[in-house]
Symmetry: C2
Subunit: 231 residues, 2 copies
């Protein structure tokens, strides 16, 4: 198998890492997803990544070349596996980097506040103690307290999504008439939420909702095949 | 003259509207800035825009065609004045629309809190009462109270600029190796601040500072010729 993809997994094997989804969509974009071999890694199985010299998913091994970090993986895939269809064709690399960083800094913290209290229910039992301890330290509060504030976080998310809304309300993608890595970066945040929580992040009439539906339909609707909540 | 450009002006004629700067840079990008005739409009001179059917600058009249709104003007210029050099070449139109909306929603409110209390000093005296009344209503506080909180706003701005920083820290522009409308949208916010206030928005070692310097050097350093504060 040409590519082995190490991705985060929950107790039933479901894959919900937002960074894993960036890689998964990038592989599909390049026509490589169906042929890639997937190694599922739970939070307690970081030893599986020791060969990569670090302990964070996603990692790919491509014909012996080890690449960690979703952004580095996207650059690698575009460089090594032909320029067409490029992940960066319409927006360019610099703008795509912006969209990844915008998602990391603006969307992830707000979506975390909306869904993180639901994550234990989909984890492998061996991951529960680590997950609660690490997340409560990161956010400085209990998972239960975060759940109580999630309607506030949802309202903040709606405001934070304003530029994405303005960009896609005409019916296309951040990258124009077709999707690119810019879209995959933001979409990964929503696939993370979909995989772990039934909490509704978006109003049905939000143009971002329609964009997410278009994203779910991509690559033969591959994203819809992953176990998740129907939101 | 082919194009007449109606732009906001202060008491000494200086042009500091962030939306005006988007248009001014777009005109320069298309090679049209030097030849455009500029009509300066203070806040008290909105009657000068009556012909456009609305009262907001910027407005252009291009061979008899009236176009208002900085985004519509950019689309018009790219459509009518040749595709090369396009304002949207690298990022595409949809991503450029994102950057304009991101600047409007994320940067403008924070920069306003940093500089708005300095604006009266550069206005035409006839504009002072209107400016104070309209801005204090918009922000729900006095200009003086905003000035007291501006170090907090500056710290928030530094965080909000994280995705721009990640995109341009390699030494280029949002649009890649050369600038595009994406860059002009964000740069307009900084030219607004530069025109009205000596308050330092950016640390000297911030990659966004270096990007702003690259932007100031564009089009024969035209942005540096406008009266402003040296920040």
């Amino acid at each position: 198998m040409a590519i082995t993809f190490y991705d985060l997994a929950g107790g039933d094997g479901r894959r919900f890492s937002p960074f894993g989804w960036r890689v998964r969509m990038a592989l599909a974009h390049k026509g490589l997803e169906a042929g890639a071999s997937v190694e599922r890694v739970t939070f307690s199985q970081k030893h599986k990544l020791a060969f990569s010299g670090q302990e964070l998913v996603p990692v790919i091994v491509d014909e012996g070349t080890v690449v960690a970090d979703s952004w580095e993986i996207a650059l690698h895939l575009d460089r090594v596996h032909g320029r067409e269809p490029s992940l960066f064709a319409t927006t360019g690399v610099a703008a795509a980097r912006f969209f990844a960083a915008w998602t990391d800094s603006q969307l992830h913290p707000l979506i975390a506040r909306c869904v993180v209290s639901d994550i234990p229910a989909v984890l492998d039992p061996a991951d529960l103690e680590y997950f609660r301890r690490s997340r409560e330290a990161r956010f400085g509060t209990t998972l239960e307290a975060m759940a109580e504030g999630r309607n506030t976080a949802r309202a903040e998310l709606k405001r934070a999504l304003y530029p994405l809304r303005k960009s896609v309300e005409a019916g296309g993608f951040l990258a124009g008439s077709g999707p690119g890595y810019a879209d995959y970066a933001a979409f990964g945040a929503f696939m993370w939420a979909r995989g772990v929580s039934g909490f509704r992040l978006l109003d049905d009439d939000d143009p971002v909702h329609a964009w997410r539906e278009r994203m779910l339909d991509l690559h033969d609707a591959m994203p819809r095949t992953e176990p998740g909540f129907l939101v």
